[in-house]
C-alpha cells in the first residue's frame, strides 16, 4: 500500500510541475464539482420555459442567452455537463475494466488472444462511429443504449494495450522470480503485472474520455443518441442549427463548453503522458 501511495504522489508531483496540465486538472475538477452541485447552483431551472424571454442574446440576466423556448442556456449547459461527464468517465471506466480483463486473459492465453485479434480485425473493418451508430439503432435511442454502445466499441482499444503490456511485463525477470517462489496467477496479475502497466492505461483512459464525449455529442447531434428536450450538448447544438442565422449563441455556446472539456482533457492527457514517461524523469 505504501508503494502505491508513493507512486501516486510521484505522478502528482510531476504533474504539478507542468503548469498547463495542472491548470487543466483544476479546470476539470471545477467542472466536475459544478456538475455535481448543478441542481443547487443553477440560476434558472434547466427545463423552465419562459416564452416572453425566448431567443435572447447573451446579457447580464442570461449570460449565455436563451433558446427558442426561453430556457436559460447557461443553466442548460451546466446541467448538460452531467450527461457529458457521466458518458465520458462512465463509459471509459466500464470499457477500461472490461478491457483490462480481456487484455490480461489475451496476454496469458493463446486462444483468447486469437479471438481478441480476430475481433480487432473485424472492428478495424468498420469505422467505430458507424458501429456505434448501428448499435444505438439496434438498442434504441436513449442514454443507456448510447453508453452501452460506446463502452462496447472501446473495449478492444483497452484490451490491445493491456495485452501488449502483459506480454512485455511477463517476460521480465521479477515475474519469473514470482512464479518460482510459487505465486498464484491472479496474485501475479494483480500485484506485479497491472501495477507495472498502469502508465499507458491511464494515458489511454484520458484520451478515450475525449473520444467518447465527442462520439456521444456527435450521435446526439444527428438525432441518434439522447433525444430532445434533454439538455445534452449535441442535442442543443442541433437545435441551434435552425436559428444559426439570427441567434448564433444557441449553437455556439454548448460547443464552447464541449471544447473546454475536451481541450482540458487533451492537455491533461499530454501532461500525464509526460509525467508518466520515465525517459523524461529527472
Amino acid at each position: 500500500m505504501a508503494r502505491k501511495n508513493s507512486l501516486a504522489k510521484q505522478i502528482w508531483r510531476r504533474l504539478r510541475k507542468n503548469r498547463l496540465a495542472f491548470g487543466c486538472f483544476v479546470i476539470l475538477a471545477l467542472i466536475i464539482i459544478a456538475a455535481i452541485a448543478a441542481p443547487w447552483i443553477l440560476p434558472y431551472g434547466y427545463a423552465k420555459q419562459n416564452m416572453a424571454e425566448a431567443l435572447q442574446p447573451p446579457s447580464f440576466k442570461h449570460i449565455f442567452g436563451t433558446d427558442n423556448f426561453g430556457r436559460d442556456l447557461f443553466s442548460r449547459i451546466l446541467y448538460g455537463s452531467r450527461y457529458t461527464l457521466v458518458i465520458g468517465f462512465g463509459c471509459a471506466t466500464v470499457s477500461a475494466i472490461l478491457g483490462i480483463i480481456v487484455g490480461v486473459l489475451a496476454g496469458s492465453n493463446k486462444k483468447v488472444d486469437m479471438l481478441l485479434m480476430r475481433v480487432v480485425d473485424i472492428m478495424m473493418g468498420i469505422p467505430s462511429f458507424t458501429l456505434n451508430l448501428c448499435l444505438v439503432i439496434a438498442m434504441g435511442k436513449n442514454l443507456a443504449s448510447l453508453m452501452c454502445a460506446i463502452s462496447i466499441t472501446h473495449i478492444p482499444v483497452f484490451a490491445r494495450i493491456v495485452r501488449v503490456q502483459v506480454m512485455t511485463v511477463s517476460s521480465q525477470e521479477y515475474i519469473e522470480a514470482a512464479v518460482s517462489v510459487g505465486a498464484q496467477k491472479l496474485w501475479i496479475v494483480m500485484k506485479h503485472i497491472l501495477p507495472n502497466s498502469y502508465a499507458p492505461i491511464i494515458v489511454l483512459f484520458t484520451f478515450q474520455v475525449v473520444g467518447m464525449v465527442m462520439t456521444a455529442a456527435s450521435l446526439s447531434f444527428i438525432g441518434m443518441g439522447i433525444q430532445p428536450p434533454e439538455p445534452e450538448w449535441g442535442v442543443m447544438i442541433s437545435a441551434g442549427r435552425t436559428y444559426l442565422r439570427s441567434q448564433w449563441h444557441m449553437a455556439i455556446m454548448p460547443g464552447i463548453a464541449l471544447i473546454v472539456i475536451t481541450y482540458a482533457l487533451n492537455l491533461l492527457g499530454d501532461g500525464l503522458r509526460d509525467a508518466l514517461d520515465p525517459r523524461l524523469k529527472q
Binding site: 480485425d121 473485424i122 478495424m124 462511429f129 458507424t130 439496434a138 507495472n196 502497466s197 456527435s218 475536451t262
Partner: protein, 366 residues
C-alpha cells in the same frame, strides 16, 4: 530452394552480367511473394466481411420499430401489416432471412429499399461519388496540412510557430467537426457572405466541407508527424548528413522525412476510414447529398435494407482502404517487405501497431 538453384546455376557460368541478373531474379521472386501476400490478405477479407454482414444484419433485425408501420403509416390495420411482412419476407425465421440476404449479396444484390422500392445498390451508387470525393479531398487536405505543420514544428521545436501549431492542432482534435462546420457557416456564409452554406454545385461549395472534415485528421497527423520527426531528427544519420555538408532542407526532406513518415502512413488507413464515417456529420450540416446523409434518412424511415447496404458498403470501403494502405506500405518500407514475404509469423496483420506499442511499452517498463 528454387532461388538457390537458379543462382547456383548462374554462378557456374561466369557471366559478366551476373550480379545484375541475380538482382532481377531476386526482385521477381520477391514480387511473387508479395503477390501471394496480397492474395492472402484479400482472402482474409472474406471472413471479416462475413462477420460484419452477420453483425449488421443481426443489429438491424433486433432494432426496435416495425418497418411495415413506417411504410403504411401509424394507422395501418393488422391485415395490412401482415401483408407487408409477407411481401418482404419479414415473417420468416431469423436464420432463413439471414441466409437469404447473404445469398443475394453474393449475387451483388443488396435488396430493395422499403420507401422508394428501387434497388439499394443503385441508391448507393448514385450518392457514393459525392461522399468518396469529399472523403479523399479531406484526406489529401489533412495530410498536406498536417505533415507540413508537423515537420515545421518538429524542426523548430519550442519556437513560437511550434507552440502555435501545437495549440491549433489540439483545438482541431478537441473541437467536434459539426460545431466547427457551424462556426464556419456563421462566419463565412452568414456574416461575410463569402461562401455558400449548403449544396454541391461548384468548387466554392466544397471548401468548407473539406476544411471541416480534414481539420480533425490534419490535427492527428500533425501531432504524429511532430512526435515521429522529433525522434528521427535526433538520430545519428541525421547528424552524419549534416556533418557531410548536406543542406538543411535536403537533410530534412530526404533523410528525416522519409523515415518519419512511416508511422504516419500506417495510421492513414484508419484516418481515411474515420473520415468516411465522419462524413455523416459534415453532410448533415452542409446538406450534401452523399451516402452518409442518406444513411441517416434511411434510419429515420426504418428502411433497414438500405441501412444494411450502406453500412456494409462503408465497411467494404474501409477494408479495401486498409488493404491498399498496407500493400503500399510494403513498397515504401523495404524492411517490412522482407518481413511480410519471408516470415511465417501469424501476427503480421498489424505489424506497425505492434512495433509502436512495443516501443512504448519498452520505454515505460525500462
Amino acid at each position: 530452394m528454387r532461388l538457390h538453384s537458379i543462382i547456383y546455376r548462374d554462378e557456374t557460368k561466369i557471366d559478366a552480367n551476373f550480379h545484375e541478373r541475380k538482382h532481377i531474379i531476386l526482385t521477381k521472386l520477391e514480387g511473387d511473394r508479395l503477390l501471394k501476400y496480397i492474395f492472402k490478405r484479400i482472402l482474409l477479407m472474406i471472413p471479416v466481411l462475413f462477420c460484419i454482414i452477420v453483425i449488421v444484419f443481426t443489429l438491424m433485425y433486433i432494432a426496435p420499430g416495425d418497418p411495415a408501420l413506417a411504410i403504411l403509416g401509424e394507422t395501418a390495420s393488422q391485415d395490412q401489416i401482415a401483408q407487408i411482412h409477407k411481401e418482404y419476407g419479414l415473417d420468416r425465421p431469423y436464420l432463413v432471412q439471414l441466409s437469404d440476404y447473404i445469398i443475394k449479396l453474393c449475387k451483388g444484390d443488396m435488396g430493395e429499399s422499403y420507401t422508394t422500392k428501387s434497388r439499394v445498390v443503385d441508391e448507393i451508387m448514385a450518392r457514393y461519388p459525392t461522399t468518396i470525393k469529399l472523403t479523399l479531398s479531406a484526406a489529401v487536405f489533412g495530410l498536406i496540412l498536417g505533415v507540413t505543420a508537423g515537420v515545421i514544428s518538429a524542426v523548430k521545436q519550442y519556437s513560437a510557430l511550434d507552440k502555435t501549431f501545437t495549440m491549433f492542432s489540439l483545438f482541431g482534435v478537441s473541437a467536434p467537426s459539426f460545431w466547427v462546420a457551424m462556426l464556419l457557416v456563421l462566419l463565412l456564409s452568414v456574416k461575410l457572405a463569402w461562401l455558400p452554406p449548403t449544396g454541391t454545385y461548384g468548387i466554392e461549395y466544397w471548401i468548407m466541407p473539406v476544411f471541416t472534415l480534414g481539420l480533425q485528421s490534419s490535427a492527428y497527423i500533425m501531432r504524429m508527424t511532430r512526435t515521429s520527426m522529433l525522434e528521427v531528427v535526433r538520430q545519428d544519420y541525421i547528424r552524419t548528413a549534416r556533418a557531410k555538408g548536406q543542406t538543411e532542407l535536403k537533410t530534412i526532406i530526404k533523410h528525416a522525412m522519409r523515415n518519419a513518415m512511416l508511422p504516419v502512413f500506417t495510421a492513414l488507413g484508419m484516418q481515411i476510414c474515420g473520415l468516411l464515417a465522419g462524413t455523416v456529420l459534415v453532410e448533415t450540416v452542409f446538406a450534401i447529398p452523399g451516402i452518409s446523409k442518406y444513411l441517416i434518412d434511411c434510419v429515420n424511415n426504418k428502411d433497414f435494407p438500405c441501412v444494411q447496404g450502406l453500412v456494409l458498403w462503408i465497411a467494404i470501403n474501409c477494408v479495401a482502404i486498409n488493404l491498399i494502405v498496407d500493400v503500399v506500405y510494403c513498397f515504401i518500407d523495404p524492411r517490412l517487405k522482407t518481413a511480410y514475404t519471408r516470415s511465417k509469423n501469424k501476427s503480421k496483420s498489424q505489424p506497425a501497431v505492434n512495433t509502436e506499442n512495443r516501443g512504448k511499452a519498452g520505454a515505460i517498463s525500462g
